[in-house]
Symmetry: C2
Subunit: 136 residues, 2 copies
C-alpha cells in the first residue's frame, strides 16, 4: 500500500492510507460520500475532510491507482485499478457481480485495428445492466 504511493511519487499520509484501505476492504465501487462515511466509523481519526477525499480521488485516478466506474448514477463511483474486471448490475435490486471475459477483451483489441482515426486504446469502461435470477 505504501509502496504503491511511493512509486507514484506521493507522500505517505494517514488520509491516503486510510482511503486506500477503504477501497481494499470494499468489494464494490464506492462514491466519495461512501468513503467519507466509512472513514468516520474509524475512531482513530474523526473522519477525513470531504475536500481531501475528493482531491485524493481525483489524483489517484490521474495516476491510475483508481478508476471511475459508470453506474449511470448522479455521483461518481471509483474502484482500485489493480484487478481488471467489469460489472453486471441488476436493474431491479442493484446487486452487482464482477466478471471478466477473455473473449470480450480480445474483441475489443480488434476495434482499434478497424478504426481509421485511432491508433491505440489505453483503457475502457464496460458495464452491463440486466436482471439477476432473483429479480427476473
Amino acid at each position: 500500500m505504501e509502496d504503491l504511493l511511493k512509486e507514484k511519487g506521493y507522500k505517505i499520509t494517514p488520509a491516503r492510507l486510510a482511503i486506500l484501505n477503504v477501497f481494499a476492504k470494499s468489494k464494490l465501487p464506492l462514491t466519495a460520500e461512501d468513503i467519507c462515511k466509512e472513514l468516520k466509523k474509524d475512531k482513530n481519526n474523526r473522519g477525513i475532510n470531504e475536500a481531501t477525499v475528493y482531491r485524493t480521488l481525483t489524483s489517484f485516478v490521474e495516476d491510475h491507482i483508481l478508476k471511475r466506474v459508470d453506474f449511470r448514477k448522479e455521483s461518481a463511483y471509483f474502484e482500485l485499478t489493480d484487478e481488471h474486471h467489469h460489472h453486471i448490475t441488476c436493474i431491479k435490486c442493484e446487486t452487482v457481480e464482477d466478471f471478466e471475459s477473455k473473449d470480450v477483451e480480445k474483441a475489443l483489441g480488434g476495434v482499434v485495428r478497424n478504426s481509421s482515426r485511432f491508433i491505440s486504446i489505453q483503457d475502457h469502461s464496460l458495464e452491463l445492466f440486466g436482471f439477476c435470477k432473483k429479480c427476473s
Copy 2:
C-alpha cells in the same frame, strides 16, 4: 419524430420536439447544458427551461428514447438510442469516434451464460479511451 413520442404515450409539445431535434442534429452525445444552449440559439423560442430539459431527459431515458453515455465527466451525457454503437474518445484532444463491433456484441452475449447470478442482459455501456492518430 412525432410518431416516436406518440408511440411512447407522450403528448406532442414544442419542448419535446425541440429537444429531439437537437439530438437528431448532433453527432455527439450531449449534456443538459449543451441542450439548453442549443435551444437558446433558436429565435422561435426563448429557450426551454432547464428544469424541463432535465425532466425530459429523465423520462426519455426511462422510455429508451435516449441513453446515457459514460464519458467519465461530471455531468451526464445522452444520445438517441436509435443506433447501437459505442465511442472511442481521445484522451488528449477529446475527439470522439463511433464504432460498432459484432465480435464485441457476440462476446458480451457469452458473459451472461457464464454468470451464476444473472439471467439476462438488457443493456450495456462501453466506452473506449485512447489516442487518435493526431495525438499519439
